[in-house]
């Protein structure tokens, strides 16, 4: 009895974890995508592609809709490419300011500050000051299992400690929320079938590009006049692109693998 009841409660959390499902019909598959894009494979789950070359999970649909209105900008990429991109080390958290959250087994209501920081709202009065008369409708339940994605910050004392609209304005995208370094990008090295992901990337002058081998075989990055050592699984090579132009490169071990870095002003 208790076993099955518990199963019910927990499965809800688990299902939520994989249920960011676009309703729109799938667009054509593309291999062109950049950091900051939303990506998906043939499956349903949508990810945020970060500057660190990782894909970030939206733990549930509510989290997704604090950042995006719909799924119209999601790019479908080949499954082999999606699999090559490693998962982020943290999940996407609520966009700060949009909603308040509450954990079912914790009586406190929190606002969300930049970086997934929960700040306790000490009174109903303050909740009303911040979120208006209908503040109760602005509270989402956060499943216990996603509480670990957040950190607890200082409690609010005055309503002026936190202005939802300001925080939202300051945090227009997930890269800002996570303080990602946007002067650096990472390309994943996949197997010889999967190639470099993304295969083509446009970056600003002065960007540091890191290639990380996610494949069990050795790979070597070879450009015009520069090359890496042989890279093992999880090893990286870095190069700063300081002149404008289009730079082709390949793998010195599997010539079938090719990629391009386009450098713009």
């Amino acid at each position: 009895m208790r076993m099955s009841k518990l199963f019910g409660a927990l499965t809800m959390a688990a299902t939520l974890a994989t249920s960011v499902v676009p309703m729109a019909a799938n667009a054509a598959v593309t291999t062109v995508f950049s950091p900051g894009d939303l990506i998906k494979g043939s499956g349903q789950t949508v990810y945020y592609f970060g500057w660190d070359g990782r894909r970030y999970v939206f733990p549930n649909e509510k989290t997704y809709f604090t950042w995006y209105k719909d799924f119209s900008t999601v790019k479908q990429i080949p499954d082999t490419m999606l699999q090559t991109v490693p998962l982020g080390r943290r999940n996407v958290t609520y966009r700060p300011g949009v909603k308040m959250v509450k954990v079912t087994t914790d009586p406190r209501t929190y606002v969300i500050d930049q970086g997934g920081i929960l700040r306790h709202v000490p009174s109903q009065q303050m909740a009303e000051t911040l979120y208006g008369i209908a503040w109760k409708n602005q509270i989402d339940d956060l499943p216990d299992a996603f509480y670990a994605d957040y950190k607890v910050g200082t409690a609010l004392v005055l309503s002026s400690d936190f202005t939802p609209a300001d925080v939202m304005t300051l945090t227009t995208n997930i890269a800002i929320d996570k303080q990602m370094d946007q002067t650096a990008v990472t390309v994943s090295i996949g197997s010889k079938e999967n190639g470099f992901v993304p295969p083509s990337l446009t970056v600003k002058k002065g960007t540091l590009v890191t290639w990380t081998n996610t494949d069990s075989s050795l790979h070597r990055i070879v450009g015009n006049g520069w090359q890496s050592q042989d890279l093992k699984y999880q090893e990286s090579y870095q190069r700063v692109f300081s002149t404008v132009g289009s730079f082709d490169y390949g793998c010195g071990i599997y010539p079938v693998m090719n990629g391009t870095i386009n450098v713009i002003e």
Partner: protein, 478 residues
């Protein structure tokens, strides 16, 4: 029929439950390691730190427990009073994990570390013929509860049963306690028994029987009991190098003379019993060809963390016609170069990654004329992951009442920094992903006094450290 019977059983359990677990009226006594629940259905682990840890799904729970017996029911108030902490990860070694969008099967090692099982053959060797029935799908959203360890490339890299046995409790696996088991009553009467007969034999060993000039050899002798022993003496040839009185074990290091080296030495141990009779044992140390001026070892690092790669480079003097180069770790060949190159490199993981263990690395060159030259050994120590070093810098060391203050936290670590937090009194003011310094504007500060800020950083191997700033004084406007 079956369903009906199940329902009947379940009803019975429910009744028993309510009978055995009356709603607590006062404080329920909780112990570290208890399973607890509130009026809802979710079960939590009550950790050593007094926080409750979440089982993100039933499968995670089932790697640790067979059923729900012993779960203590708390009132909502009681449950809410216990702070919520992070998620429990799979018990190591029990089952394998797969994430839907990653075509890799992982074994679970200690502390929520996922290790990629690189081939199907390995999975079968480790988990048996039905290995593919021992894989659970982990939802993407729980992947962040785990960290990634070294891939498994050989059967010897991972032993499911050992991993499982050594992760005895969730407290230990979450690193909330350093003791592997919950403390149990220790037997109080363990008085050592006097031997009725004096020992007739003892153990004597040397760390290596083939050694080069200049190398250090450890001699160790141990006898079964102290009661009947007066002393243990260790000799090289006829020279006494150590004498231990009234102990059961005696050991000493001996350096093979770097010059005027003999072709062999005799290591000897003599145990003298209380009745003045003695026992003797010997080992022969054979000196081997010295290639220390021709072959050298370079290590990328002399301290490695568990799951960190060891980089070894062997350089061979250009006057040797190299046939092959072998790289040894603890007397086992780990890598070889047979291409005649004067440079041979190996990068890999240590087999024994126990903290504190020291591993000997040597290079051996076999020339085209079959002469073997061996390098001086170098040593790699497995050490705990270094903590990130953290600097907390307030923009000013003194501010006026009502003024704001920028605080910057920067951190560095060999493994790279994953995230940085700016803290005040245990609360996070700002969280930054990545290694770039994290700055936040604080205040206005409206109380005269001093302020201290904190900084916290996590390195790429999930090691976290904290530091605090020097105090900033808040003074009245002039």
């Amino acid at each position: 029929m079956k369903l009906k019977q199940t329902l009947h059983n379940l009803a019975l359990i429910a009744c028993m439950t309510s009978a055995l677990l009356p709603m607590p009226t006062g404080a329920t006594t909780l112990q570290s390691g208890d399973l607890i629940k509130g009026p809802g259905d979710a079960v939590y682990y009550y950790g050593e730190d007094g926080k409750r840890y979440v089982f993100p799904n039933l499968k995670t729970y089932q790697t640790w427990y067979n059923d729900f017996t012993g779960v203590k029911a708390l009132s909502l108030d009681e449950l809410q009073a216990i702070s919520l902490a992070k998620n429990v990860t799979y018990k190591p070694g029990v089952r394998m994990i797969k994430v839907e969008s990653i075509p890799k099967v992982y074994a679970v090692a200690a502390n929520g570390t996922l290790r990629w099982i690189t081939t199907e053959d390995l999975a079968e060797s480790l988990y048996g013929a039905d290995w593919n029935k021992k894989i659970d799908d982990l939802p993407d959203g729980f992947f962040v509860d785990y960290k990634i360890g070294a891939p498994i490339v050989a059967v010897a890299d991972f032993a499911p049963a050992t991993e499982s046995a050594s992760a005895s409790t969730i407290n230990f696996n979450l690193k909330l306690t350093s003791t592997p088991t919950t403390p149990t009553d220790t037997p109080t009467s363990t008085t050592p028994t006097e031997p009725t007969t004096p020992p007739t034999a003892f153990d004597f060993s040397v760390s290596k029987t083939n050694a080069m000039a200049g190398e250090i050899v450890t001699l160790s002798a141990s006898a079964p009991s102290v009661g009947a022993i007066s002393k243990i003496e260790l000799f090289i040839d006829t020279t006494l190098i150590k004498s231990c009185n009234a102990v059961t074990a005696c050991s000493s290091d001996y350096q093979i003379p770097p010059s005027n080296t003999a072709s062999s030495y005799v290591a000897k141990a003599i145990v003298t019993k209380l009745d003045a009779t003695t026992l003797t044992d010997t080992e022969t140390l054979t000196t081997v060809a010295n290639g220390t001026d021709k072959v050298t070892v370079r290590l990328a690092r002399t301290q490695v963390k568990p799951n960190q790669l060891v980089g070894v480079t062997i350089d061979v003097n250009s006057e040797i016609a190299v046939g092959r180069v072998d790289i040894f770790v603890d007397s086992q060949i780990v890598g070889s170069c047979a291409n005649g190159s004067h440079l041979c490199q190996w990068t890999g993981y240590l087999t024994n990654q126990t903290l504190g263990t020291v591993h000997e690395v040597k290079g051996r060159v076999t020339s085209n004329y079959e002469t073997k030259y061996t390098s001086f050994p170098k040593y790699v120590t497995v050490s705990e992951n270094d903590e990130p070093s953290i600097t907390v810098s307030p923009a000013k060391d003194s501010i006026y009442l009502g003024e704001k203050l920028d605080v910057t936290v920067s951190a560095s670590d060999d493994d790279g920094i994953l995230s940085i937090d700016v803290m005040k009194d245990g609360a996070v003011l700002k969280h930054c992903e990545g290694a770039a310094p994290c700055t936040v504007s604080t205040g206005p500060w409206n109380t005269i006094g001093t302020l201290t800020f904190g900084g916290k950083a996590t390195d790429a191997l999930s090691k976290t450290a904290e530091n605090t700033s020097s105090p900033v004084s808040v003074v009245a406007q002039p």
